[in-house]
Symmetry: C2
DNA sequence: ATAGAAATATAGCCATAGCTATATTAATTA
DNA sequence: TAATTAATATAGCTATGGCTATATTTCTAT
């Protein structure tokens, strides 16, 4: 059993979710605020703030005190990679015949645990569009 | 986005891994020891011990100090459910054409995030045995 | 321009999971 | 049986993510 990989995935999971969400907010609303992040994730603002501080310390985020949030190049790279992976998993689940809502919820959890190899197979399946 | 579900899954994830592993050890070796658990999970014995204490407090495990570990009925139920889910995901990934090693690693992470609906679809896919 | 509202930040708490070091108990073997 | 080894337990540390309460700053509207 290879549980180490899973635990390592966990460390980056929250980071990926935040960066993906920030990228989305920047894209749709033009800015990413702590308030929006907290709402989207259904957590307290203080919790969002704390995580944002961590992401800032780790160089994924650019921000000034009391101002909204931007992604560094490093942050953007992870965000786009995560988004791509998310879409692949979501489409895959829907092609499998799962309804949008369930597929969306499951994809959220699954996306962080899918290897490159598996992702490739899912893409292949998606382009073949074989519904079983 | 439904991140709350993912976070709730995380809380039970480690619990499920432990209970599944303990059931396996009981089955294969006849007993489950902290040493074995720590080795299997590649963590320190002190860490395994601490989690085992938590599982004991939460009523998933029966044990006496300095003795090996057993599952309560509650623990057994979760273990067998987890095992079933794990096998379904593993078979599914392999039917998708993913090699045993990769499938095994991915299943470890994915199994905790698969809803009942998705699990059903995977089972259906598995019994159809359609390799794409 | 300033008062009140909204957003951000900080402090301090809890639980979990990880670690090393050390103590205690059980098992083995000389 | 006694000494050594192995296993378990405990103490104390770190980091993460969750919370509420409160302070501070910025925004908005009168």
């Amino acid at each position: 059993m290879s549980f180490r990989k899973v635990r390592n995935a966990h460390k980056t999971e929250n980071t990926e979710d935040y960066l993906e969400l920030i990228a989305e907010l920047l894209n749709s609303k033009g800015e990413a605020r702590i308030v929006d992040i907290a709402n989207e994730l259904s957590i307290a603002q203080a919790t969002a703030n704390k995580t944002i501080q961590r992401l800032h310390n780790q160089g994924f985020i650019k921000k000034q005190p009391y101002r909204s949030i931007f992604l560094t190049v490093k942050g953007q790279q992870i965000a786009s990679k995560s988004k791509k992976r998310h879409n692949t998993v979501l489409k895959f689940l829907m092609n499998l015949g799962i309804d949008q809502k369930t597929a969306s919820a499951d994809a959220e959890g699954i996306e962080h645990h899918v290897s490159e190899k598996t992702l490739k197979k899912m893409e292949k399946f998606n382009s073949a569009k074989k519904i079983v």
